[in-house]
Symmetry: C2
Subunit: 450 residues, 2 copies
């Protein structure tokens, strides 16, 4: 479908550019022109569906760089608990009962919530199952995503098979909408040899399937300060420096690695991240809720590290709302560093769009409204009391706008939400299925039958 | 109007009570019964308008205990700046150009936003003007509020007149919807003698107008750690302890004082707050945005201090969204104290409802769904992807629900929002007026004509 979005305020995310009374022309899945409405209208008058954005803000879709999409089925199951008790007594036992169809149902629910909230790309780490999986859920909803399979030392053989299947069946599929990743769970659950092996598998799979788009690495890094002890306990490896230094010593760090959390970093870790061009996914809401600590984001930014934003799973957030994450990120570092000039709105919006695309090695195709890029575009309705009056649209997007203000969502040139109504999936049915899946999970955990 | 809300899940806020398939009966402005739908329906069958809350959550309206409602006109005017530059170069100069009709327009916008977001009571501190004012705006919107006049040493005579007018014309008016307060700005802008005088004025006005409802004191306290130096500089008073101790030495603290912010408190300050029964308004979003610091809320709660929640002004937040404040409060203290069990959802919801009512000395009438209390009730629609599935409604209300999920708002027995549409004011007109007022403000500041 060819379309033009007209009469809007376009935030392109290229060097603070704002085009008032602007327009975007789209052919198939690609942006072919951006400019003033008067010009664009003249150039593309026939055969383009018109989308009126008068009084509205047009910006790139938000990029959520750390999720475990299937876990929405456990949203609110357990909160306000000590971390180990939360994991061992609550989350892991119920997760053990999740079937392939539960994974699909949870991921579809997260896909729906993401799109409704203006997120057009999600990087998710979960268990891959061949029958039904997160990749299928994202594709069915029309959501762009990097879908990974999470790897642990205790299941190397299964992991290898899952990674091969995932790459073969899903990498750069569905009109380029879905990419895949190799997801070592964390440095304390993946032993040093397996870590290296997973790097080799990445190279191997990239040689096979990665010519047009890279298969990236997605790993939890330094989420809490006790990771060195956990690594020592698990693998009898004594770290000499920080977690990033340790990973670097294994030779696994490069520009196609996205490190989620990056809370407990050393100064040298940050320098290494920059020199290896490792990307960070900052998850402020999850880090606060689980009391993991506060990531040194301003320091990473100072060093020139690419820092993107993520929600983390619906168990530790409890939403997939990137507007909330933007606001929390903008606020938190000002407060804890006693410096109100940190994390200015323009930078935070970039972290949620263009820097997010960079973090997923996808910036050639998404993250900005730019000729040649894929059309992942959201339209935000500013006719709301909390967005009135308007002095500065970018300030409003970060500090005042809400996911519920997103009105239209286009992904890969296709309108997947129009006037807040999802077009590719039946939301009522998605929610009904999730609620039923939850009831079955509770029954299974009660009777302890897998 | 008499009405019954039926078939809902009622969160009464009395000792974690949840009534499934519950109902509330309301006569005029008062709750007359609460129970199972089957019983309530039988007892109040005729002459009651029925409100169906099937699949929805029914809870007390949220109480915002610190606002400067008129300042919504400056939302997003200046952000990400050092505090003094922000105040002196940006906020104060433009505020100097605000007229009485601007104050009304801004307060009406905040009233609209508050109601739409499920807030039914707002405690606001601003300049009182006789012609048009925040009290009139709240009453016009049907919002319950405590409306104050902010007092400074440099305008004692004007303050006295304003306070007398405000109390006479507005205290316990509009069917009890509006109450008023005495608002010394802060310990560094109100000298010690004037502080005592304002306490005398409070007593005097309470003797005249306060028989049925107290006129309270609303003051900024210890928002930043440099207040002792500011007091020294302004009044040549050298503090021997914390700010609360200082105020106590002036004899101004009692149960009808609400202290906003309470960031830089000493241990002894907290003990004194408890012994004088001074109430705190915690404003986490504003404190983070202005980099003021982090209030020791868990310590106040440990000591038994009543801590409520506030948004602060739309300049330092930038919304009037109490759902955001609840989530931020629940997250922040877990994170900075590295303890995920702090600020559990049930307590945070209480801080935003019943404890908010206590903080305004209004708990005999509002803050819970209880027979004899005024009917300030909100209905939240849970048929949303981010609120699915449901394990625990209270967890969802704090960690996942959004202001946009509020569907119906009743204040003082009157439905002021139905299906997200305001009933007493024309929202489009309110926003249009605010936008025009902003444009005039910018013109005036440009030409520097008051």
């Amino acid at each position: 479908m060819n379309s033009i979005i007209l009469n809007g305020t376009i935030i392109t995310m290229l060097e603070n550019q704002v085009i008032r009374d602007g327009a975007v022309a789209i052919e198939n899945n690609t942006i072919i022109d951006v400019g003033k409405t008067s010009e664009i209208k003249r150039k593309y008058s026939h055969g383009y569906e018109k989308i009126d954005a008068k009084g509205k803000i047009v910006l790139p879709g938000l990029v959520n760089t750390h999720q475990h999409a299937a876990m929405s089925l456990l949203r609110g199951y357990a909160d306000d608990l000590p971390l180990q008790e939360w994991l061992e007594k609550w989350i892991w036992p119920i997760e053990g009962h999740m079937t392939a169809s539960d994974i699909y149902a949870g991921a579809l629910l997260t896909a729906a919530e993401s799109i409704i909230g203006g997120t057009t790309t999600v990087n998710t780490m979960y268990h891959y199952t061949a029958e039904e999986n997160e990749a299928k859920a994202f594709a069915d909803a029309g959501l762009r995503g990097v879908v990974g399979h999470v790897c642990f030392s205790w299941r190397k053989k299964d992991d290898r098979k899952a990674l091969e299947d995932l790459a073969k069946n899903w990498h750069n599929q569905k009109n380029g909408l879905i990419r895949v990743s190799i997801d070592p769970h964390a440095p304390y659950t993946v032993d040093p040899d397996y870590m290296k092996e997973l790097k080799e598998i990445q190279t191997e799979l990239n040689n096979k399937y990665g010519e047009k788009a890279p298969i990236i690495w997605h790993i939890h890094v330094a989420e809490t300060s006790d990771e060195p002890e956990k690594i020592k306990k698990a693998f009898n490896v004594q770290l000499k420096g920080g977690i990033i230094e340790y990973l670097d010593s294994l030779g696994v760090l490069d520009k196609n690695v996205i490190a989620a959390h990056c809370v407990a970093l050393t100064e040298k870790d940050i320098v290494t991240m920059k020199s290896r061009n490792v990307k960070a996914s900052h998850n402020p809401i999850s880090n606060l809720k689980l009391a993991s600590g506060i990531s040194p984001v301003p320091k990473m930014l100072e060093q020139g590290v690419t820092v993107s934003l993520g929600t983390d799973s619906p168990c530790s957030n409890n939403t997939a709302d990137m507007f909330e994450v933007m606001k929390t990120a903008a606020l938190l570092h000002k407060g804890v560093n006693r410096n109100p000039t940190l994390m200015a709105a323009q930078k935070v919006l970039s972290m949620a769009t263009l820097d997010g695309a960079k973090a997923l090695s996808w910036e050639k195709e998404i993250g900005s409204i730019e000729v040649g890029k894929k059309a992942d575009i959201i339209i935000v309705n500013f006719a709301k009391p909390h967005l009135c009056p308007v002095y500065n649209e970018v300030s409003h997007l970060v500090y005042a706008a809400k996911s519920a203000d997103v009105e239209t969502v286009m992904i890969n040139g296709e309108i997947v939400m129009e006037n807040r109504k999802l077009k590719k999936i039946d939301l009522e049915k998605v929610m009904e299925t999730a609620e039923k899946a939850k009831n079955r999970l509770l029954e299974r955990i009660k009777s302890n039958i897998k």
